[in-house]
């Protein structure tokens, strides 16, 4: 039963939400809404479990003095510190929690995001080689789009932004749509396998 119950729940929930899309009957709408609401409650509650997991896993490794234990101490101190500040002093404007969030968390995360610019540059340098005709077309197209999407492109040649826009809106979009259609059909087939109960890999069960 331990294995069948999750499949039954998945199949029944999937069908109810799907039927609600087509059938405006109150009983189906009510059940569908209840499932949606339960999902919201579960999602929120799962974060408590997540926090406990972070604490337990890191504490166990610090106790065992695993490699990298000092980093785990930092995690535990920050976790407990921020949670304590939030619970005791609140999280609104003017609180210590908010100050740390705005002045430590925000810049640190922005720094992580900004790494993207550096990594794009190094990846582009490594990958963009005119090895054959296709790679040459790829490189030239990339150059047009990169320049056309910034003011410099328009300053070099006024037609560059329009050319860039055309490349994005036609050849690139056609390829993207092909990918999206394929992926959407794949997702639909996977969803169908889920709601008829034949896809069980996500439960760790062999087919």
């Amino acid at each position: 039963m331990k294995k069948e119950l999750p499949i039954i729940l998945c199949v029944v929930s999937g069908w109810i939400v799907l039927l609600d899309f087509f059938i405006p009957k109150p009983v189906i709408g009510t059940l569908s809404r209840a499932i949606v609401d339960w999902t919201l409650i579960l999602s929120a509650a799962s974060f408590v479990m997540g926090g406990m997991s972070v604490f337990a896993v890191n504490l166990a490794r610090v106790r065992r003095r695993d490699s990298g234990a000092r980093y785990r101490v930092v995690v535990l101190v920050c976790l407990a510190g921020m949670a304590g500040l939030g619970i005791l002093g609140g999280i609104g404007e003017g609180t210590a929690y908010n100050w740390i969030f705005q002045n430590v968390q925000v810049p640190m995360e922005s720094t992580m995001f900004s790494l993207l610019a550096f990594f794009i540059a190094s990846a582009a340098f490594r990958a963009f080689r005119m090895r054959n005709a296709q790679a040459t077309v790829l490189l030239l197209t990339a150059a047009v789009v990169m320049l056309g999407n910034v003011p410099l492109g328009g300053a070099i040649w006024s037609g560059l932004p329009s050319l860039s826009s055309w490349l994005l809106g036609h050849p690139s979009l056609a390829a993207q749509r092909g990918l999206i259609v394929g992926a959407a059909v794949g997702a639909t087939a996977t969803a169908l396998r889920l709601i008829v109960g034949v896809e069980r890999g996500y439960l760790g069960l062999r087919q």
Partner: protein, 276 residues
């Protein structure tokens, strides 16, 4: 000569990635210190979003999705600020929400600061519904009722008691939804709020996500799009308030140029080494 070429090829081929990082840093920082003032061109999709907001009657309801976390703030906050400026100037009602746990306070700060410039009041002219766990499920839940999905706002005030929420129950009661996002939320809004409830959806996204939203633009499922810092700069131009995004466009131009120069150098070395 040959020896020099050989050395150059070797140097470029084995270029340490830290050199690339320094080159990009210089390309970004230098124009911020010494602005070049390159002329900015506006796009149709940004113009379309501005026009859509401009066409809304006073007190119409606009839902604004703050769907990014602090990491994407440098790229997405400027367009959020420009849009908020426009919304409050036009005296539209703003309902803000987010699918990211950390973004409630960020949204609150931006809303309060920009609303104050126009004398707009919390609860009356705007509300920050804050974060609700559940991603797509939350969007589905709002399709049933805003109040059941968000019984209280970010400040803990019951949603039902707020004048700004008067007559607003589901997606159908809003006039426009603008999702400023660095993830999948725009697709979800297009699928649920747009396709199922007929709510016009506009979007703001990071530059890297622009190509993916062109299909929605062409099919009319997105009424307008702001892409990255360029999109923000365009919106700043529409509202005639040049800000951070406009200042950053020179830096972005130079960064793109630096990448292209590096790629060109890499290819030159590649060709020379092949010939040798």
């Amino acid at each position: 000569m040959n020896e020099r070429v050989r050395r150059w090829i070797e140097a470029v081929s084995l270029l340490d990635r830290r050199f690339i990082f320094v080159a990009i840093a210089v390309a970004v920082v230098a124009p911020l210190l010494v602005p070049i003032g390159l002329p900015l061109r506006t796009s149709r999709e940004a113009q379309a979003l501005y026009d859509r907001v401009e066409s809304l009657p006073e007190r119409a309801v606009v839902v604004l999705g703050f769907d990014y976390d602090p990491s994407s703030m440098p790229e997405l906050a400027p367009m959020t600020r420009a849009i908020l400026d426009h919304l409050f100037r036009k005296n539209l009602r703003v309902i803000a929400l987010t699918n990211y746990a950390q973004t409630g306070p960020i949204a609150e700060r931006q809303l309060v600061e920009i609303a104050a410039r126009f004398g707009r009041r919390p609860g009356v002219d705007f509300v920050n519904l804050g974060y609700k766990a559940g991603n797509e499920t939350v969007i589905l839940a709002v399709a049933n009722d805003f109040r059941s999905a968000y019984p209280v706002d970010h400040r803990g005030i019951p949603t039902d008691s707020l004048p700004v929420m008067a007559g607003v129950h589901t997606w159908k009661d809003a006039s426009l939804l603008i999702d400023i996002a660095h993830g999948a939320t725009t697709d979800q809004y297009v699928r649920i709020a747009g396709a199922r409830f007929g709510l016009p959806v506009g979007a703001g996204c990071t530059a890297v996500s622009i190509p993916r939203y062109y299909s929605y633009l062409q099919s009319g499922q997105l009424v307008g799009l702001l892409g990255g810092l360029q999109g923000a700069a365009e919106y700043e131009r529409f509202i005639r308030k040049p800000g951070f995004a406009s200042a950053g466009m020179d830096a972005q131009s130079m960064a793109h140029l630096a990448i292209l120069i590096l790629v060109a150098a890499g290819n030159a070395a590649f060709f020379l080494s092949r010939r040798r």
